[in-house]
Symmetry: C2
Amino acid sequence: MRVEHPSPDRRRPYPDDIFVGAVDAQFLIGDEARDLRLNEITFRDGARNKLHTHTTDQILIVTAGQGIVATEHEEREIATGDIVHIPAGERHWHGAKPGADMTHLAILGAGKTYVVADDRPAD
Amino acid sequence: MRVEHPSPDRRRPYPDDIFVGAVDAQFLIGDEARDLRLNEITFRDGARNKLHTHTTDQILIVTAGQGIVATEHEEREIATGDIVHIPAGERHWHGAKPGADMTHLAILGAGKTYVVADDRPAD
C-alpha cells in the first residue's frame, strides 16, 4: 500500500490540448496501479476542459473552490465536498466557474480519454 | 452524470461481519455504475475492519478524524486529506485510532471483498 497527501507545493502547470485556460496537476496514483488512477487538478481563473469522454467511469471529488460539471444536456454548479459520477462514454466537461478556481480529485479506471472534436458545452 | 454530497444526516449504522466495533455508512455510487464504487464509512470509537482483500484496487480518502491503515507488514497513521492506494489482492485493514473516530471515502473497482479467516493485523 502507499499513503499520499496532496499538497499545493506539489502542483505543477499541466498544459494539455484538453484544457482551455491554466491548469495545475499532481499525479498521485498512476500506471503503477492496475485498476484505478487518481490525480488532483486545479482549474485556475475559469479554466476548464473540453467536451470529452472516457472509456471508464470517472469520479470527481471537489476539494476547493467553485466549479461546473456539464454534459450535452445539463450543467451543474459544484463546490467543496461534492462528488460526481460520470458513466463511461458520457460526453462531459468540467472546470472552474468563470472568475473562480476549482480543485478536484479525479478518479478513473484503467482506460482512455477522447476529446470530442466538436467542443460544444451544454447551454 | 450524477452529483452527490455526503452528509452526516445520511449516515446509517452498518453492521457487518467485516467490522469490529460500530460503523456508519452511506453508499454514494453503487451497482448502477459499471466500473467504480464509492461509499463513505465512519469508524466510531476505535472501530476497524478485519484483515481482508479485494479483487480490485482500492483508494481510501480520509475526510475526518484519525485512523490507521495496515498490511501484514506495516501500520500507518492516517488523518484528514490522506489518500491511500491498496493494490488488488493485498491483505490489509483500516479503521479509527483507539479512542478516536475516522471517516473515509472508499473507492473500489467492480470486484469482490474477502475477509481473511485468520484476522491478524500487523504488529
